[in-house]
Symmetry: C2
Subunit: 351 residues, 2 copies
Amino acid sequence: MSEPSYASLACPAPAITSGIIELAHGGGGRLTHRLIDDIFRPAFAVAPDDFTHDGAVLGLESDGQQLAFTTDSYVVRPLFFPGGDIGTLAINGTVNDLAMCGAEPKYLSVGLVIEEGLSIDLLRKVVESMRTAAVFAGVRIVTGDTKVVERGKGDGLYVNTSGVGLIRARSPVAPQRVEPGDAVILSGDIGRHGVAILGVREGLGFEMEITSDCAPLSAAVLALINAGIEIHCLRDLTRGGLATGLIEIADTAHIAIELDESVIPVSDSVRGACEILGLDPLYVANEGRFVALVPPEYAALALEHLQRFDQQATIIGHVEAGEGNPGVRLRTIGAVRALDMLSGEQLPRIC
Amino acid sequence: MSEPSYASLACPAPAITSGIIELAHGGGGRLTHRLIDDIFRPAFAVAPDDFTHDGAVLGLESDGQQLAFTTDSYVVRPLFFPGGDIGTLAINGTVNDLAMCGAEPKYLSVGLVIEEGLSIDLLRKVVESMRTAAVFAGVRIVTGDTKVVERGKGDGLYVNTSGVGLIRARSPVAPQRVEPGDAVILSGDIGRHGVAILGVREGLGFEMEITSDCAPLSAAVLALINAGIEIHCLRDLTRGGLATGLIEIADTAHIAIELDESVIPVSDSVRGACEILGLDPLYVANEGRFVALVPPEYAALALEHLQRFDQQATIIGHVEAGEGNPGVRLRTIGAVRALDMLSGEQLPRIC
């Protein structure tokens, strides 16, 4: 995902003053947010509202059409995994960041940083995956850049994709619009991408192969918009998973989100793998799942549309006023626990 | 520079079928063009005309306004050099790619791939350079992304910047529009960026410090447009330098360009350093220099405007019909020699 939140987040991690970059600074958790708040926001943010989206929403001077603009770098290892590869991921990831702005994705750029020694056959396969994914998502790759770095200065292939889309939502889609009463709808089962990556990386032989959920989300989002559904906020559940995505929204909007754990869809195979690996599926990365926060009167219609794309789409919770106690609460059997943002990530470098 | 030429180039290098990526594939010369022609173009190019710019020019459906869109990754080593750093370079480079489309640069994205262990103070300095460069160039950084890779899997910091601009030129700016008779105007002296980088990298103590020419070119381009000057083609002279930029234009436009070596401005210090290092300044990278190809009746006015930005701006040659003999010819004292595209680059990884 692009930085979802140059927006200020109430992270208790200490301010960054000096030191060195650790892996956790890239993990999408508290340390990433500190880096954003302490280094990037003061330097780049002119207006605080500029940085509350998965991508930027830009006005053009000549008419009312707004653009969405987003960027993402992909450093996934391994390059190929069940259900996709770094090429599929790079296209769908940027398509999804645009969709999360309420935009129709239109144009993509591809920037490659290739390590000397990479197999040209492998590069060709990745490029072919990009082509296929772009056609499937209805976007055009219109500009590119290639750099080659010396052996040992990269990891095979790093891909940056940036994207431009046309805003289709009739009102802004942003965390600040979330209101008490909003329904939280999850678009499908969670945890598959992260577990699929880890399975290959660690050479774990799961009984059933778990494939990544990597997919474009723009068709589902456009279906909601075209159905006239008022959308307050959209968020794809990449690094940090469902929990981190919702915590970011709650912190930005100063509201509370209450989830019902029993209805959150997690496949048996993912649940089993997570138990073996000691992972919480709520924090595991997805690459084809999102949440939509919509006013309660639109919840049933939104669910109906999302279930056409994935039968497992479910209303998993609702928004409450956050006074004094913002954040995300998970209702389990007989208890309610607060979900905290992780410091780093559970799985390094999976998106 | 973004790939200037997914456009077909008449490169005699053999087709890429398999093998591995070499450093020269990223050097901006023949091998880069082979990679583009053999791998990227067949996969990405829907219409052949899509890929003849430094960036893409995109139409919006709702009105006549066109956008420019470009991407570039920066893998420069060292990260700091006389006259700039990777942050300055990343902002100006993408600003310049947009300007070369005849666009006013507006919005930039920043994607960072940071190697674990990078000093946070260094990161802060680079980000501050980006901020300063963006303010100076009149662009806004509106979205970003950060990834951290393991120690030994990067080289401190790789930066991708993508950019969106509004097309201001009244007619297309593209190699295909170049015509016999056009004047070739160079915006200033050449070779400073490449020599500055190499000087630091190799620990060469030049008598006089040579500073990079890194600078935004958008103000100069907009001055030409606002003066009503018809512009056929613009090209910033990055990887591969003046020679490679003009060869690409000549190959795409199927024309010949004749240059007068004696008027091409090269500072004494750059000339001296190039002699010591065995480099041809015509092929050395610049980060704040461009050529404008304009109809002869506009040449004097264009020169007048460009000299307000840099007194060394000069008409260095003109375009001739290319029938049977397209390419770039350099008229030296008593001789004319053809300039060929290099296989790789003279200096690895300087932009």
